[in-house]
Point group: D2
Chain length 295, copies 4
Amino acid sequence: MPPATAQIAALRAALANTSRPAIAMAAHNPLTAKLAHEAGFSAIWVSGFELSASYAVPDASILPVSTHLETTRAMGEVQPLPLIADLDTGYGNAVNLTYVVRQYEAAGAAAIVIEDNVFPKESSLRAGPAGAKRKLAGIAEFQGKIAAAKAASSVLVIARTEALIAGYGEAEALERAAAWAEAGADAVLIHSKAKTPDEVVSFCRKWDGRVPVVIIPTNYPQLGFKEAGELGKVGLVICGNHTVRTVVEAVRKTYKKILEEGGIEGVEGDIASVQEVFKLQGDGEMREIEKKFVR
Amino acid sequence: MPPATAQIAALRAALANTSRPAIAMAAHNPLTAKLAHEAGFSAIWVSGFELSASYAVPDASILPVSTHLETTRAMGEVQPLPLIADLDTGYGNAVNLTYVVRQYEAAGAAAIVIEDNVFPKESSLRAGPAGAKRKLAGIAEFQGKIAAAKAASSVLVIARTEALIAGYGEAEALERAAAWAEAGADAVLIHSKAKTPDEVVSFCRKWDGRVPVVIIPTNYPQLGFKEAGELGKVGLVICGNHTVRTVVEAVRKTYKKILEEGGIEGVEGDIASVQEVFKLQGDGEMREIEKKFVR
Amino acid sequence: MPPATAQIAALRAALANTSRPAIAMAAHNPLTAKLAHEAGFSAIWVSGFELSASYAVPDASILPVSTHLETTRAMGEVQPLPLIADLDTGYGNAVNLTYVVRQYEAAGAAAIVIEDNVFPKESSLRAGPAGAKRKLAGIAEFQGKIAAAKAASSVLVIARTEALIAGYGEAEALERAAAWAEAGADAVLIHSKAKTPDEVVSFCRKWDGRVPVVIIPTNYPQLGFKEAGELGKVGLVICGNHTVRTVVEAVRKTYKKILEEGGIEGVEGDIASVQEVFKLQGDGEMREIEKKFVR
Amino acid sequence: MPPATAQIAALRAALANTSRPAIAMAAHNPLTAKLAHEAGFSAIWVSGFELSASYAVPDASILPVSTHLETTRAMGEVQPLPLIADLDTGYGNAVNLTYVVRQYEAAGAAAIVIEDNVFPKESSLRAGPAGAKRKLAGIAEFQGKIAAAKAASSVLVIARTEALIAGYGEAEALERAAAWAEAGADAVLIHSKAKTPDEVVSFCRKWDGRVPVVIIPTNYPQLGFKEAGELGKVGLVICGNHTVRTVVEAVRKTYKKILEEGGIEGVEGDIASVQEVFKLQGDGEMREIEKKFVR
Ligand SMILES: [Mg+2]
Ligand SMILES: [Mg+2]
Ligand SMILES: [Mg+2]
Ligand SMILES: [Mg+2]
């Protein structure tokens, strides 16, 4: 049994409940994953964008898979939510993905997401060259990757299509989503960077629902979680980048204030106490181990 | 020449200017290091406490040195400030430290800090058992480690004493600081968890100034940077944990709001835009490389 | 259930069969682990000495735990034998060991070995200063570590005493072994660097057999596996360093021959073919994945 | 200045001496790199094939770049020869390579080799499907990668063409080699898996010599180092896989003997002593540090 058997089952059940989608929060380190659990989210999105941003490098296949894998593992060590691992294009072909997905299963992932971009990927939300369609993976090729991932492990496989973002239109998006489901995907992620929910809403209306839909509404935040549920097709909403965006803004403010005021006293009221951080570090459990075993 | 030759020189000069101490900010990943540079700090404190907190584990020799070393290296890849690496007790004896300090030099560190705690360390600010003095390293032993680190590399060695925190009093603190300077330390870090600056102020008054003093005023934030400068002995003030404390507070707020409001629209005004994050990831440089070399 | 449940059970059974001890071979990378499985050994000794030697650094707490942990994990990915992880002194106190042993369990280890040396350790077989007894961990302290490791995971805990090597004599060795068993150790490893088996034979005769004994007969190779079985107490014999020693000798010969002959033709008959290496790399399984899934 | 400035200069000079090519030996860990230095080779080939084999996985873009990068760094820490890093297809496009080559420079590499295979690569010597030509990177695309690598760092860039192996013939091989040189490559690697040196000899005769040629004569070992020099074009001969092939054969023999004889006594004469291994681990230097600094 994979280490995350319980989380896989929980996530599978959550995805199936399309009248009330599960909400996953993006995290880029174990601390933020633990905070997401504490807050009440249902899953962690181990986001390639967030992780790349935390290293201050582009989300463009620059960090090695090992960095993402170890982050996933470390998140599982400190909190119990299902981990949904963002594998980008899958780190190669079906062979490479076979090796990789086994490692994610062993690391405690409950699901992986692979996308039909071409390696090396670039961030979906990045402005591309005007008028040019981004190239996508072939349908048969990507189906092979989905099937390989399913054959290699028990983790859920969420297959993402960039057809809308890459400019191929709704028909292509629907065809690809259907092909992903046919190949064994447990859910399909339809990505859109339209400024309104219309694209995604229309897709959901036409989607036959054979597997649940996953969305990442960064660019169309008007679509609330309840409205997503009313579409009847969405099993999971991913908040894709709100942790690192929060960090950037808040850290900038603290830094500015400290330097302007010439000291650290003024920020005390704005930030968590050291004791709060100790608690998040598991100081309580450490004290119990000390009491029992440090002699 | 070590990769951080310029940073070593800059930090050495900054430490010498005890009328206007340099200010270092704690960071736990390359992104926050880059933000600290952007804000105008003079150095990055590659804090063991912050890094442990970002992994949600106690600051108690639990993370392997490799995690800290790779974080240091990654910080140097994305911003130019001197990196001051928190090596805790030095990861073993003088032999181990020799191996470790060479790796930090190669990773681009400008300085290391070692402390006279006993391995495995625990966080200095953690409440200890009432009435018990924490054990410290022997003076000769610790001098050997300082000398070994100096002999092994060109990075600055900042030697920290926990004499005040461990309950041995000011005389012991002064004796240890003098012993560290005698052994070759480039600066001494006097750590205090008193709730007022008195301990540190008194120490500075009695310190003969043969090498600069470094302080981490977490518990006595009343001491501003200007006041620290007026002591005439302090070359560096380290803001020891304000990044991760900011993160905890701000991330908790965002998460709460998203779940309470049932959507991500409401936090948009509170957090950085995706475009802002792209910029911090070096999207501009990536576009230049693309234009020149991707054919 | 830990990932290595089957291996834990197999190793436990093998240890119990003290009339015919299991034989473990030291390995320093997944390839040599796979070769040990192919040859017919019963377990892999993930040796700190071998691993350090493969990095050309002393076996003296210099490699970070992460390097050893990742090696253990990678060995488990490519062959099915139980992995016995050499944890040296346990990477800290009972708290640190608690964190570490959980990670080894997740990495697929079937057993860990911890030794009563003091951190930072040095290689047991290294010549020490004449006349000086090496310091050992206190009995209660080490019992706490054993108990902590048992409480933290399901992997077998093999507790090693260096009492003979450190010069404290047989009575101390027996007392420590008994204390380790009392604290919950699944087996005790009695280490000796005597040039004959006498020390270990005498220890085994006096040992009451409440848990099996493990030996590493590097310095007393006269003791064959059959003779070890005849002692009736030994559940496991570890070949502690024969892989890396083989590598050094053989690689030196190949290198010398190539340079002396001025070409690579002459060594062809002495070394494995490229096709043999392909097989060990799992080329067969890769071809099957390709056939099924690469489209 | 890059950390390997001296090694870069030495390798550049060696490459230029085409009447007496430098000889590089493949290594897969720091120990074998150190043995190659000891034996008298001129450079270390940080071979992807050897490293993959040491992990018992196919040489097919399965190991993450971080594993290879860290191996390169660790090799540089223990021996002084120039390190020639096998970067396969460059881990992505010109952007990715830019990031990667900077990291190799910081890790102490003297040169990188990139090949015009398509990601994910497979081993050049592996039997492909009958009658099918392996796809290669476009010429302009690969030139962009060479130029990007040159712009990003000071390490030497050796550009490899698989035109012969992929079945495109000599004219294509010459055209590609010329294009690589034009784009800034410091040397071109012409790879062949013919069973005789004819292909490579013919290539060298027609090559105008504007930059030196590098060869890996695994499949045509008849070509000695002296004969390679007589071609007047070859600056470097790489022994591409002889270390791991030696290891497989020798380790198999030792394992077999130990199990057949039922003990470790019989192999003592065949393998290096523990003392020999201590020496290779730098025990001598460790003792000096101990004497000076461990108090
Ligand atoms: Mg992503
Ligand atoms: Mg610290
Ligand atoms: Mg050992
Ligand atoms: Mg290769």
